[in-house]
Amino acid sequence: MSELQVEHVNVYYGTNHVLKDISMAIAPNTVTALIGPSGCGKSTFLRLFNRMNDLIDDFRYDGRILLQGQNIYASDVAVEELRKRVGMVFQRPNPFPKSIYDNVTYGLLLQGVRDRAVLDHAVEHSLRQAALWDEVKGDLRKSALALSGGQQQRLCIARVLAVAPHILLMDEPASALDPISTAKIEELIHELKQQYTILIVTHNMQQAGRVSDKTGFFNYGQLIEYDDTRTIFTQPHHEQTQNYITGRFG
């Protein structure tokens, strides 16, 4: 069974029709890359899965999105519970202006976890998973804002992992980072695939090729092509896709 099932989804911002009749099935423990020119609706699509678009005043949608068979937009779904299962990493690192420790434990505190031993364990475990432990273990009380951009982004990943979601949404997680930090994040994605289902938006074709199993190409709000990453990059079925990945537009 697929982890995520998108069925005929349309999204509007006011009268602006930004996603048009999108259908897609995503298998568990895969990495799916979402590519396409700027403004084609990748972020909007990604933010459907943790209902972050709900915060936008004139957001409207129709269609269905099923997470393990359950419609996440059904009226009896608690958005907070959904967001614990579907974690998100943003384009710009956005740590809380608190200590490293407090950043990682935030999600657990929200759930009422107060046991010191549990929190300590979660902090070490998540920071190790996010490949940040060795760099910060000496001073977990340091302000997160004192970390480098790449470290901050890995902290944001650790913060999400601490909540133990099933799905990770990443919106250009490495676009603000240098090549070394980017490589670390890509390595991380490989590791995390064992336990998580990952959706990643990227403008970097090489990155999409390196990290993903499946790739979806969006243009003007439509899902033009969705297939194995290898197929998309070697023999795409649509000329638009071919043009985009070879850099002829977008």
């Binding site: 943003f90 202006p97 935030y106 999600g107």
Partner: protein
């Protein structure tokens, strides 16, 4: 003359005019302070601060008025701060899309501009007469609380609005409810701005004279208030009373009392500026 040279000339003229305007303001303030200090500084003493009011200017002090001012400051803060901050948070976080909230917003901005005498009349009717609080500390503090409520609401909303959207999104995306996000992220991040607003509002309240006169606050009260329903005096009322007397010595007393009042308000403003700077440095 080409347009570049003209722009540069206009720029220079503007700078000179701006400088003159600033200097004029500072000069007037300096003259005022100089006159005040020359008249009043000699009268300031421990005796002046700790004496009760009296018919004899040289024996009179501001003890009861000073304590009265401290009382209304604390009580006004206790009444206005929770209400103002809560209303600001509600309007900014929950009421933004509602039509009546827009209506409220216009009215609150207008209320901030209503002359303080009007608040005094409202306080007289509602607190002094209808609720039978008399000319007590509580009645005065309630009136001043109403007066600064709009300022607090506006300051709270502005401080909250300055919190970056990314902070909220980070919190919500981790499964926080709206209220958890406000409590753990938005309020701490805007605390500096809110606190600055509170202090500026309080320093405004401390200097208000008209509403206190309207609700009948006395100049001659021979004891310091010991509970909220006591009658009391306050510095601005004492100053007003002394200034309106013919004897020169009372004028000296007034100048000395004004210095005390100015120290309080400048002190409060100084704290506000300090907090604002510290808060600015902390933002990411």
């Amino acid at each position: 003359m080409n347009s570049m040279a003209r722009n540069r000339l206009a720029d220079r003229i503007f700078r000179v005019v701006g400088l003159l305007a600033t200097l004029l303001g500072l000069l007037l303030l300096a003259i005022f302070l100089w006159g005040l200090l020359r008249t009043g500084l000699g009268r300031l003493s421990g005796q002046f601060l700790s004496s009760l009011p009296s018919r004899f200017p040289e024996r009179a002090g501001i003890y009861t008025a000073l304590l009265g001012t401290v009382w209304i400051m604390v009580l006004t803060a206790l009444l206005a701060v929770p209400l103002g901050v809560a209303a600001g948070v509600y309007l900014e976080e929950y009421g933004r899309k509602r039509r009546w909230a827009a209506l409220l917003e216009i009215n609150i901005t207008n209320l901030a501009g209503v002359p303080s005498v009007i608040y005094g009349l409202l306080g007289l009717e509602v607190f002094v007469r209808f609720l039978r609080l008399g000319s007590s500390v509580l009645a005065a503090a309630s009136t001043l609380a109403l007066l600064i409520l709009p300022i607090l609401i506006v300051a709270t909303r502005e401080a909250i609005r300055a919190v970056p959207r990314s902070l909220r999104e980070a919190s919500l995306a981790l499964g926080a409810t709206r209220w958890q996000t406000i409590w753990y992220q938005v309020l701490p991040a805007s605390a500096g701005g809110i606190l600055t607003g509170i202090i500026l509002a309080l320093s405004r309240a401390v200097g208000e004279t008209a509403p206190l006169l309207v609700i009948g606050v006395l100049a001659y009260v021979p004891f310091a208030p010991s509970q909220p329903l006591d009658e009391f005096s306050a510095l601005p009322v004492q100053i007003f009373n002394w200034i309106s007397r013919p004897q020169h010595e009372f004028g000296v007393n007034a100048a000395a009392a004004i210095i005390v009042l100015l120290v309080i308000t400048f002190g409060l403003n100084g704290v506000a500026i300090y907090l604002r700077n510290r808060w600015r440095q902390q933002l990411p």
